[in-house]
């Protein structure tokens, strides 16, 4: 299970024509970036099972980093390390370091609640609270003890606008959020996450349950949001990864096989495994 996967390099070839997606051929270079989040030899265990194996990654500030890889390879688990949500799982164990803005978040003295305010998360399945649309978005502020009506109103509106949901729900803010459609719920969760103004946003397959139009909306949204946040996104859709991300990490069985600028990874993957996966030759 925990064997190291090392595969022969492939020849340089273009797999996906990135120009099709209207993106520049700009080659991001990790060396020039301002690193916001960095993992060092990260291992994660759920009980006896090792889910992540010596992960070394750097997420640059104000960039979108995509995580791709087959189902069960540990993408969600990795994201959950970034806001220490794995702490909630009994007998989970984390080894190694995660530096957020240079601070190790796994230190004993880390204030976890405070950390999670800085690391917003959108879950694989939308999980709105059974409260009104308004209260869902205001939730994060409320638990921070903010009570001023005006401030809450403003934040709710700007967050919903940022999640391009405002026009659809502005007349039903008092209605139960569970009455929204799946796509609306997903955007509501995004609004809820950005309402507390995190510094990094973790999106776990935000478009998995959405129709193409909603998906496009969310992708546009990500493009806008990256001016304010650092973004990590998990996706099973190669085109989507190619469209929205600046960097891509390919994961396989708990390891990061390849990590680099999206343009490079999609046109000239170093490893056979990566090539097979992004061309769809691998399940």
């Amino acid at each position: 299970m925990n064997m190291n996967i090392k595969l022969p390099p492939t020849t340089a070839r273009s797999f996906i024509d990135l120009n099709l997606f209207g993106r520049s051929n700009h080659q991001y270079r990790l060396e020039d970036e301002n690193i916001f989040l960095e993992t060092k030899d990260l291992n994660l265990f759920y009980g006896q099972q090792q889910v992540l194996q010596s992960i070394n990654l750097s997420l640059p500030k104000h960039r979108v980093t995509a995580f791709i890889g087959p189902s069960g390879c540990g993408k969600s688990s990795l994201l959950r390390c970034f806001n220490r949500l794995n702490d909630l799982i009994e007998d989970s164990r984390t080894e190694g370091q995660i530096l957020l803005d240079g601070e190790d978040i796994y230190q004993p003295r880390t204030n976890v609640a405070y950390l999670r305010r800085k690391v917003g998360m959108v879950f694989q399945k939308p999980n709105p609270f059974p409260k009104s649309v308004y209260e869902n978005v205001a939730y994060g502020l409320r638990i921070q003890g903010i009570k001023q009506r005006k401030r809450l109103d403003e934040t709710v509106e700007t967050s919903l606008r940022a999640a391009s949901l405002w026009d659809e729900v502005k007349d039903r803010l008092k209605e139960n959020a569970l009455g929204l459609s799946g796509g609306q719920q997903q955007r509501l969760i995004i609004a809820r996450a950005i309402a507390i103004e995190p510094e990094i946003l973790l999106l776990d397959e935000p478009a998995s349950a959405l129709d193409p139009i909603s998906t496009l909306k969310i992708e546009e949204l990500i493009n806008e949001l990256k001016a304010k946040f650092t973004i990590a996104i998990v996706t099973h859709n190669m085109q989507q990864a190619a469209r929205v991300s600046d960097y891509t990490a390919f994961m396989y069985m708990g390891q990061v096989i390849e990590f680099g600028s999206t343009n490079v990874l999609f046109t000239t993957p170093k490893y056979r495994q990566t090539e097979d996966y992004i061309t769809g030759r691998y399940g």
């Binding site: 609640a113 139960n176 569970l178």
Partner: protein
């Protein structure tokens, strides 16, 4: 045929008929109690007959036929058996003849065959009295200060207004006794306790004594005034009286002050009977019991039952919810947590009388005794909390129902999806905040379920209450308008215990049997109302989270 068996259809039928049977049993139980209890308030006709037993002179008998049954001839006295030689059984009546002060017993068993000339003359009256039960007979005259002012039919023209006058006077007296006079007694007792407290603390200075003395004088002067007022009212009440000729021709003077109601049931038409029926029913639920609980109403018992259940709910809900939250959310799952959980579940099976014994020993004697020693030394030797009372009864029942609340709440907490908790955590909530803002609000319907089960169990419980606070007759209600309004140290009455007391402890079992049914019916009704209220609240809470199941 084989296919029919195989289809599972027979089992559906079996299950359905079981349900039908259960429903039938429940409804016939309720119907039986309702008919037995509620029929009692219907104004029964009054019979008049000559009672002729062999070897004695015939006597006139007036009263209500209460009950009828068949007895084997062989059980009769030898002398009576002869005429019935051809029969196996004879019909026997139970007749309520009233006038207890004359005859000692209100009831007589007579053989139908011994009654002759049975009639229902419209002139016969039944007088419901505050003392000595009903009186039956013919009203002959109305007297004012002992002087006859109306006779025969003319009485009825003047009666209602004079009855109303005495009712008003009685109401006034009651008002004075309950409110200002009750308050003065309360104040005097308070003054006495204050003085005693200071003296126990050696701080009773002469100035203080003088101050208390003046206050006491004031109150006593007030009290004297009120007593004078009362004396005047009582005097006025005594003015009118009735002259009634009872069945054997003796005349009885009945002061109107002692009369609740007078009717001539044989004369009433259906509507009028209905009116009196409603009146008597209302009287039953709204007034205090009289005559060692065998007459009058059950209001204090209804009130006590409801108060006890409410106080219990207020105690058990937070306790149960907090325990469940700890077990489900904070305690590390493992051997010990599981052991505690199993123990809690088993507590639900402990017989309730055991809780009663525990309540008496621990709450009343130990806790109450110590509270008295620490906080109410001035009241000694009279106990305040060191004696059974509504607080201890409610606490005991809270303990009894704690397991159901814990179990129901735990189930509710466990059902809340993990994803919602994670969503809340991911927004920077602490564990407390997740509980406070997400988990607990969503678990409220489950808590209400627990509470509904608790109420259903507690409201019908009698055995433990007899040890920790219920009494046959409580002098005052738990709630009144003397500060601090809610008197948790007081004893209280309870419908369940009332049934037991009236049905089995009263000297006049025949008279009270319908009351037993009526009280039982009321108890069921009270439990129903309490439960429906809780159901309604839960339904409203559910409404808010109803789409949760779809997630």
């Amino acid at each position: 045929m084989k296919a029919w068996w195989g289809s599972g259809e027979p089992w559906v039928w079996l299950a359905a008929s079981t349900v039908a049977l259960c429903l039938l049993m429940v409804f016939s139980l309720l119907a039986f109690i309702a008919v037995q209890g509620l029929g009692f308030f219907w104004p029964a006709p009054i019979m008049q007959a000559m009672h002729h037993t062999p070897g004695t002179a015939p006597t006139r008998l007036v009263g209500e036929i209460y009950h009828q049954d068949e007895v084997p001839v062989s059980r009769l006295t030898k002398a009576w058996q002869a005429p019935f030689a051809a029969h196996q059984e004879v019909t026997r009546y139970l007749i309520k003849v009233g006038n207890r002060e004359h005859y000692g017993l209100d009831f007589r068993w007579v053989l139908k065959a011994h009654l002759q000339d049975i009639q229902y003359p419209p002139t016969l009256s039944v007088v419901e009295r505050l003392e000595w039960g009903n009186a039956y007979g013919d009203i002959e005259a109305l007297q004012e200060n002992g002087v006859t002012i109306a006779e025969g039919e003319a009485v009825w023209e003047m009666l209602e207004s004079r009855l109303q006058r005495t009712r008003d006077l009685r109401q006034q007296i009651k008002q004075i006794e309950k409110q200002p006079l009750g308050r003065i007694h309360f104040q005097l007792e308070k003054l006495r306790l204050q003085a005693r407290k200071l003296s126990l603390q050696h701080r009773l200075t002469p100035e203080k004594i003088a101050e208390f003395e003046t206050q006491r004088r004031e109150q006593e002067a007030l009290s004297q005034q009120l007593h004078d007022q009362l004396a005047v009212l009582h005097q006025a009440m005594q003015r009118d009286s009735l002259l009634l000729r009872e069945m054997q021709g003796q005349h009885i003077v009945i002061p109107l002050a002692k009369v609740v109601q007078i009717i001539q049931p044989n004369r009433l038409n259906g509507m009028e009977k209905l009116h009196y029926y409603g009146l008597r029913l209302w009287h039953f639920v709204s007034s205090d019991p009289r005559e060692a609980n065998t007459e009058g109403g059950v209001f204090p018992a209804i009130f006590g039952t409801v108060m006890m259940v409410l106080i219990m709910s207020i105690i058990v809900t937070p306790l149960g919810v907090m325990a469940a939250v700890y077990l489900q959310e904070y305690a590390k799952p493992g051997f010990w947590t599981q052991l505690i959980r199993i123990s809690v579940n088993n507590l639900a099976g402990v017989p309730s009388i055991v809780y009663g014994v525990f309540g008496l020993g621990f709450f009343v004697y130990l806790l109450g005794g110590n509270i008295d020693a620490w906080f109410f030394p001035e009241a000694a030797p009279a106990p305040v909390f060191g004696t059974p009372g509504i607080l201890w009864a409610s606490l005991t029942l809270a303990l009894l129902t704690l397991p159901v609340v814990i179990v129901a709440t735990e189930e509710g907490l466990a059902r809340i999806p993990r994803s919602l908790r994670e969503g809340s955590f991911a927004l920077g909530a602490t564990q407390y905040e997740v509980l406070r803002y997400t988990v607990l609000p969503m678990a409220t319907p489950a808590m209400m379920t627990g509470l509904i089960l608790a109420i259903a169990r507690a409201a019908g419980e009698v055995a433990p209450l007899m040890l920790v606070g219920v009494v046959k007759l409580a002098p005052s209600l738990v709630l009144d308008n003397n500060a601090p309004f809610l008197h948790l140290d007081r004893k209280f009455m309870h419908l369940g215990f009332h049934i037991y007391d009236v049905g089995f402890q009263s000297p006049n079992v025949e008279a009270t049997r319908p009351l037993v049914y009526a009280t039982a019916f009321l108890l069921v009704l009270v439990i129903l109302v309490l439960n429906l209220t809780a159901f309604w609240i839960r339904a409203r809470l559910r409404e808010r989270y109803k789409s949760l199941e779809t997630m």
